[in-house]
Subunit: 119 residues, 2 copies
């Protein structure tokens, strides 16, 4: 019988269930990436931005006007959304139009809404 890990000396561990869960664990890299994705989604400003882009592409100052924020603040958030590959952008002269990157975004927001609505 193998010794318990040092951080948890409790004797209540259900060996079999833990072993089974252990086998199905995600690799650290995927866990980090998944958490990072949700973290980006976990801010009201960014949720509002994404929802606004549901309708279609908008430029930075459209979003600023819509959310009642400075374009600087919006731009900072768009950077994170870009890094998470949640939005795409397209330059047209000085104006930069942002749009949703793929349909996973829609799916995630829709599923999230289901959860908070139904409960």
């Amino acid at each position: 019988m193998k010794p318990n890990i040092d951080v948890c000396r409790m004797e209540c561990v259900h060996e079999q269930a833990v072993a089974q869960a252990g086998e199905q664990m995600l690799p650290d890299r995927e866990v980090s990436e998944l958490a990072a994705l949700f973290k980006v989604l976990g801010d009201p400003t960014r949720v509002r931005i994404l929802r606004a882009l549901f309708v279609g592409e908008l430029c930075v100052c459209d979003l600023a006007a819509l959310l009642g924020m400075t374009s600087s603040a919006v731009s900072h958030q768009l950077r994170l959304l870009r890094a998470a590959k949640l939005v795409r952008y397209r330059k047209e002269g000085k104006v930069v139009f942002y749009s949703l990157d793929d349909d996973h975004v829609r799916g995630l927001v829709a599923e999230g809404l289901d959860h908070v609505r139904h409960g």
Copy 2:
């Protein structure tokens, strides 16, 4: 022609697109709740906990052993997961078993994984 909002004096605003997006905005309460939900999902420890519960119910110290953390740390995170209605619990004597609350959780994690895997 109505004046622009004070925080955004830019003249590049695309009135029509903004108006259309404005109509479809979510109420503040839903935005907050949705962001709060994703925020809870946006932490590696909590992602690991949820993934572990995919297999079946586990008690606090099972999770602690599995993640190599103290049961105190795990319990703190479980509190947030409970508050977000992502997990349920069942007491059996001194032991408390946690399990996924509903299928939205599975769906969200699965959809998130699709996004980070495909890109």
